[in-house]
């Protein structure tokens, strides 16, 4: 077990280092520091100001090789900063990135955690129901609705939800956010609803397939043959077995609750890490963007390891080693 964990962590480290390498190539092979500086402080900025900005952000070092000091390069600095979590300041507005992360994690979690905690049981319940009535009209209607729900773009849900509920019905504000607990629910209700609607189609379809596959297994027939009823068979036999493939799908999502939901946060004005990422893309804010991608890679590796650990809990046949 501990040997397994060490091996997985080593592979995770290799993955993360590789991602950082790709990031470096992607950004510094395409962008010149002068362009980034001009976008940050204005096209008509004087050359001295641009040189100053570049020096302040550390983009004036040689890229890969410095004959005077081999460690004083952009590549080394890139790895050093990321691996020591010394994220520096935003390219766009000079705000310290770690401060921005701390500010964004709360609003992101306020949206994504309820979305996950409501969405998973909801999708599981609907999928169990539809799978229980498989080969009947309930099943067919359910599958058609699920396919329709997953085929509609999230943008339609966002704009439609804002228009219907925010403009016509005036139940909730169209967008905005306040951390005050007395009003936060009013701001989160609509993005939550849209997020649930957007995710439930594909989840129900996937889980239904898993459940239907499990209900056709021999052990299910055995359970019925010993006199168990429908509900008992579904809850005690089908669900625990179906959890094995469902866990792969769900556990890997958990770490990403931190990084937020890109489009939902951006459209609903929730100042979470998702909208920070979208803003950074729009502003060509490389410094912020690479932190977000780096965190994504770390969380992905964490998710993979968590998934494998979850397997050992769900399936006695799995032993890590």
């Amino acid at each position: 077990m501990s040997a397994w964990l060490l091996r997985r962590l080593a592979w995770g480290a290799v993955t993360v280092l590789g991602v950082l390498g790709f990031l470096f190539v992607l950004f510094f092979a395409t962008a010149q520091p002068e362009d980034v500086a001009r976008r940050a402080i204005g096209e008509k900025a004087p050359p001295e100001a641009i040189a100053q900005w570049i020096a302040n952000h550390g983009y004036d070092r040689p890229r890969l090789w410095n004959p005077e000091d081999p460690l004083d390069t952009m590549l080394f600095e890139h790895y050093r900063r990321m691996l020591t979590f010394d994220f520096g300041r935003s390219d766009a507005d000079d705000v310290p990135i770690s401060q921005r992360l701390r500010g964004g994690a709360g609003p992101s979690l306020a949206l994504t955690v309820p979305l996950f905690l409501l969405g998973l049981p909801l999708a599981l319940a609907v999928a169990l129901l539809v799978a229980f009535f498989r080969e009947t009209y309930i099943d067919r209607v359910g599958v058609v609705l699920a396919v329709v729900a997953m085929s509609i773009s999230i943008l339609i849900y966002i704009l439609g939800g804002q228009y219907l509920i925010g403009v016509l019905l005036r139940w909730f504000p169209i967008s905005g956010f306040a951390a005050d607990p007395s009003v936060i629910a009013r701001f989160l209700a609509l993005p939550l609803l849209v997020g649930l609607l957007n995710g439930i189609g594909s989840d129900v379809r996937l889980y239904r397939t898993i459940f239907v596959e499990e209900t056709s297994r021999d052990y299910v027939r055995t359970a019925f043959a010993k006199g168990a009823g429908d509900g008992r068979v579904m809850a005690r036999h089908v669900l625990p077995n179906a959890m094995i493939p469902i866990l792969t799908h769900e556990v890997v999502r958990i770490p990403f609750l931190f990084t937020g939901a890109l489009l939902l946060e951006s459209f609903f004005g929730i100042p979470g890490l998702g909208s920070i990422t979208v803003d950074a893309i729009h502003a060509n804010d490389f410094a912020t963007l690479r932190v977000m991608v780096y965190l994504g890679a770390l969380l992905f590796v964490a998710g993979q390891i968590l998934t494998d650990l979850a397997y050992t809990l769900a399936d006695p046949r799995v032993r890590l080693g």
Partner: protein, 333 residues
């Protein structure tokens, strides 16, 4: 009365006109089990034999109302211990399944829940039919494991299915099926997936248990060796219908139906050394192509004009009956 018939007691299970259908790809429903009649006397072992796909397993599932959608039991009368099982509600069926009818299946590898300890699965079966405390259920499960010959039963109760061998899993299945002392055990190809040496042990165990508990067994198999080992009476199925029924001696020694004769003729053990095995020409047609008349006619050397009609039962001797026009003509002539 023949010796075979007199050795059997009153009927425990009577099945009459059982029809189970599945939809074809063209939407029509085809009867995969077509007017099947069976009788199992108390304490008797009836073997239902036939090739794979002839509907014998489906017959067993139909008796216990375990046919999965889109399959459907369309007609038939099933009487268990004098009580008709028609029109029973789900609650009563739950009491009958496992309580009065125990079942074991072909694949012990997949028939047990892979993520639940075998002990817990046996205890579940016990507690579904009797209100006993967990500790008492545990004690009984231990006794059942001992009875079916599982060594070190205490440790095995805590094992997961993948930690047991195929033979041990099948013994655990048998223990589970016996947990509520059913009157009838339906054993669907119980030894097919096992090694030959293990097969013999499981067959011995089933015979012992049947005698000890006075339990009737409906044994479903394609293996005539197993029939010879275990069966008191035999019913031969072909393409959804029972074509011949009788005592083990009637069917194995004096088979009359051309299909049974062909089946026995293809056995290596019954063929003289060096002689060619005789095979039945052709193959079982797929269900949607089953003829309305005698279903074996297309492969039968003795088929004639009358075989376009479905044959009725023709008694050969007391307790031995055949559904065949050619046999009926021979006896009548």
């Amino acid at each position: 009365m023949s010796a075979a018939a007199s050795s059997t007691g009153p009927d425990l299970l009577v099945v009459e006109g059982l029809v189970t259908s599945f939809p074809t790809s063209r939407g029509r429903r085809v009867a995969i089990v077509d007017h099947v009649d069976l009788r199992v006397a108390c304490g008797e072992v009836l073997a239902l034999v036939g090739e794979s796909g002839c509907g014998k397993s489906l017959t067993a599932l139909s008796i216990a109302q375990l046919v999965a959608r889109p399959g459907r039991v369309d007609a038939g009368r099933v009487v268990l211990a004098g009580r008709s099982l028609a029109g029973l509600g789900p609650r009563e069926w739950r009491r009958i399944r496992g309580g009065e009818i125990g079942m074991i299946f072909q694949e012990p590898m997949t028939s047990l829940n892979p993520v639940q300890r075998v002990g817990a699965q046996v205890i579940e079966a016990i507690r579904l039919h009797e209100r006993v405390r967990p500790r008492e259920a545990q004690r009984r499960a231990l006794g059942l494991f001992e009875r079916v010959g599982i060594p070190d039963p205490e440790a095995r109760l805590g094992a997961y299915p993948h930690e047991l061998s195929g033979g041990m899993k099948q013994r655990a299945m048998i223990a589970m099926a016996l947990s509520a002392r059913p009157k009838l055990l339906i054993a669907d190809e119980p030894t097919t997936a096992l090694d030959v040496t293990i097969q013999a042990q499981i067959l011995d165990l089933l015979r012992e248990l049947g005698q000890e508990l006075g339990m009737a067994v409906l044994l479903i198999t394609h293996d005539l060796g197993v029939v010879n080992e275990l069966a008191d009476r035999v019913a031969v199925m072909y393409a959804g219908r029972v074509v011949e029924q009788g005592s083990r001696e009637d069917v194995l020694a004096t088979a009359r139906h051309p299909y049974t004769v062909g089946l026995l003729g293809s056995l290596p053990a019954r063929t003289p050394r060096g002689a060619r095995l005789v095979e039945i020409p052709g193959a079982v047609p797929p269900p949607e192509d089953w003829p309305s008349g005698c279903r074996f006619a297309g492969r039968c050397a003795r088929a004639y004009a009358a075989c376009a009609e479905a044959p009725d039962w023709t008694p050969v001797t007391e307790g031995h009956t055949v559904r065949c026009h050619a046999v009926a003509r021979e006896i009548g002539a």
